[in-house]
Amino acid sequence: MDLSFVIAVEVLYAVASLVLISAGLAVVFGMMKVINLAHGEFMMLGGYTTITAVGLGVNVFVAMLVIAPLVVGLVGLIVERLVIRHLYGRLVDTMLATWGLSLVFIGLATMIFGNTTTGISTPIPGFAVGDYQISGYNFFIIVVAAVLVIAMLAVLRGTRAGLIARGTMQRADIAAALGYSPDRIYMATFFCGSALSGLAGAVLAPLVGLVPTSGGAYIAKAFITVIAGGPSLIAGLLSSATSFGVVNQVFTFAISPVIGEVALLVAAVVLLRLMPQGITGRFFKGKL
């Protein structure tokens, strides 16, 4: 009984961390069609921002939930103004440009923070469930992911800004004809996407040791999740993160961590073979 609870928490945690890792990319790639190969590096920057801020004496939660998203969002804004805005609609070019960008970020981070692993310890203590001890921080990540999804849903569906953003992504020319500036809207959306990546990096930082190349570990999982999710932003994110999270943890627990990672990739291949348009290309069609 205790064990099944622990496993349930681990599965939920795996799903939540996939949601976190992929949320920023879902906005930038899923909505805006910018192949952002620097997504992992945005997360890495979020992590370093948190560690630096905590080192300067800022409360760890403020650093993770406020400062890191803001800083990375601003970095994203600068990147968008300097590079990305010239490349909208040119998929391959955005890919090359952001790949270059990721190398620049890794180089800069190495120069500033050095190449040794750094980190902070998790701010929430673990607790006992029957005979088992589980990490309290896992619950925090589950909560953050849930709040994030609800917030995204609320903004995109409930606010005028969300509506305008969605409309602009679909038909920028019509939005322009209606008097909105697609340039501004793209800029704002990219800011939000970057901020989400920064938040993910920040929240995951206390769990892992951070090096300038840490971003590489996330990029593949983020793309797999977003692509397998398909055209719908939130439904896609949730459905694919759930499928992969469950597959990964069940195999990890039943067999071994190696098989867990392999199972995730096999699941992705099978899924994309059966549903080339992603999960929401077949199910939940037209949902947000």
Binding site: L3, E10, G119, T122, G126, D131, G209, V258
Partner: protein
């Protein structure tokens, strides 16, 4: 007399140098030491202090008057944590720079990338890093601790402090696999029981399920030959789950790159390990070594296990040259095979003639407030794992890395 352009330039240069240099130096020139290390990139936490250790050892040799009356000159290449560069620079050192000895290589892969080149070109090679054991080649000398030297000491020590049920979490490549087998052997030899073994690819950084799985087996002790930055997360998540005070931890790798200084005291305190070196070793050699290091590198405190092995390696080579009285490769090998010893910051280091590995002290340690406190010293341990498969005095032409069967 026919004189082509190259000969002409060469002779002119030789004449000019003769005129400019004092006779004593001209008679011999310098001794060239080739170094090949990842001084930048993901492995620089290992490589940079190794590079510093090398420079310090060479400076000490030169201050003491050099070798055979000649100064030692370093030709160093930074491989930037890129395996492809090892072959390239290895070739360059032997064919172009024509060095007298090569010290370097960090990962086993980098060692294997250059070992054959060194053998073919008859260049003496020193690899000075803790590794999985089993390399048997007369042209190479190895100073790092091998699994048996370390694990045989660590297992009974850790079991005495915790209990008989052991769970192993290891990195999924040859080092982790082989070390895990040694752990299984020594746990059984000490009357314990291995209740589970899991292997992790080097980029896995989420250990949540594993921690639950370990608890299901409820061992008394977890031994973790985990490697690299991603695996450091395990020690963090273990502490975050509140497991630190429930099940004891030991590691065969944590600390060799000063990882204990990255973990907070809450995460690191109490983890047991066994190495040849710790900054906290209380010996006059170590005090002197640390003082010199800080003076030479601006107060830097990054010396660690692998850097000290590297330092021992260079000092051993120098002693070999001194005793051989020549730079001839075979003469040095034969001199070293007499069982040369040096005293270093990690204690006495002796060349084992049979395997070309080192006989050295292993210290049992426990992490405490970001330090590695020495609890007990086991003197002069033999590399029994490699000795079991390798005998260079019987088979001098051997050229294999044995995968040790246990």
């Amino acid at each position: 007399m026919s004189l082509n352009r190259r000969d002409f330039l060469g002779r002119t240069a030789a004449l000019t140098t003769t005129a400019m240099l004092p006779t004593a130096v001209f008679a011999d020139g310098t001794i060239k030491l080739g170094s090949i290390l990842d001084a930048s990139g993901p492995f620089d936490a290992y490589g940079k202090p190794m590079d510093q250790a090398m420079r310090m050892a060479v400076a000490e040799i030169n201050e003491a008057g050099g070798l055979l009356g000649r100064q030692v000159e370093v030709t160093a290449y930074d491989t930037q944590s890129d395996m492809a560069l090892y072959s390239q620079y290895g070739q360059q050192l032997t064919r172009q720079d024509k060095v007298d000895v090569v010290h370097g290589g960090i990962l086993s892969a980098s060692r294997e990338a250059i070992r054959q080149t060194m053998r073919k070109t008859k260049t003496l090679y020193f690899y000075n890093v803790l590794y999985e054991g089993g390399v048997c080649d007369r042209n190479i000398f190895i100073n790092g601790v091998t699994p048996a030297q370390q694990v045989e000491a660590l297992v009974p020590f850790a079991m005495k402090n915790s209990g008989k049920k052991v769970y192993i979490l290891a990195a999924d490549y040859n080092y982790g696999q082989i070390t895990a087998r040694w752990i299984q052997k020594f746990v059984a030899d000490n009357g314990g029981e291995v209740v589970g073994t899991d292997f992790f690819p080097l980029d896995v950084s989420d250990f949540g399920s594993t921690i639950a799985k370990v608890q299901t087996a409820s061992p008394d002790l977890v031994i973790a030959p985990l490697v690299g930055g991603a695996h450091l997360s395990f020690f963090r998540q273990w502490a975050a789950a509140g497991m630190k005070d429930k099940i004891a931890l030991a590691s065969t790798t944590l600390g060799v790159g000063n990882e204990h200084k990255v973990l907070t005291p809450e995460e690191g305190n109490g983890i047991m390990c066994a190495y040849n070196y710790s900054q906290e070793l209380n010996t006059p050699e170590n005090a002197q070594f640390k003082e010199k290091w800080a003076a030479m590198f601006d107060g830097d405190q990054s010396m660690h296990e692998i850097a000290v092995s590297h330092y021992h390696g260079i000092k051993t080579w120098a002693e070999g040259v001194r005793q051989a009285g020549s730079l001839d490769r075979m003469a040095i090998i034969e001199a070293l095979e007499t069982g040369i010893s040096i005293m270093g910051p990690g204690g006495k280091v002796t060349v084992d003639p049979k395997t070309h590995h080192a006989v050295l002290d292993v210290h049992l340690m426990q992490m405490q407030d970001q330090q590695m406190k020495v609890i007990e010293t086991l003197p002069q341990r033999q590399p029994v794992d490699t000795q079991a498969v390798c005998d260079l005095s019987a088979n001098p032409n051997d050229n294999t890395q044995y995968e040790i069967q246990i």
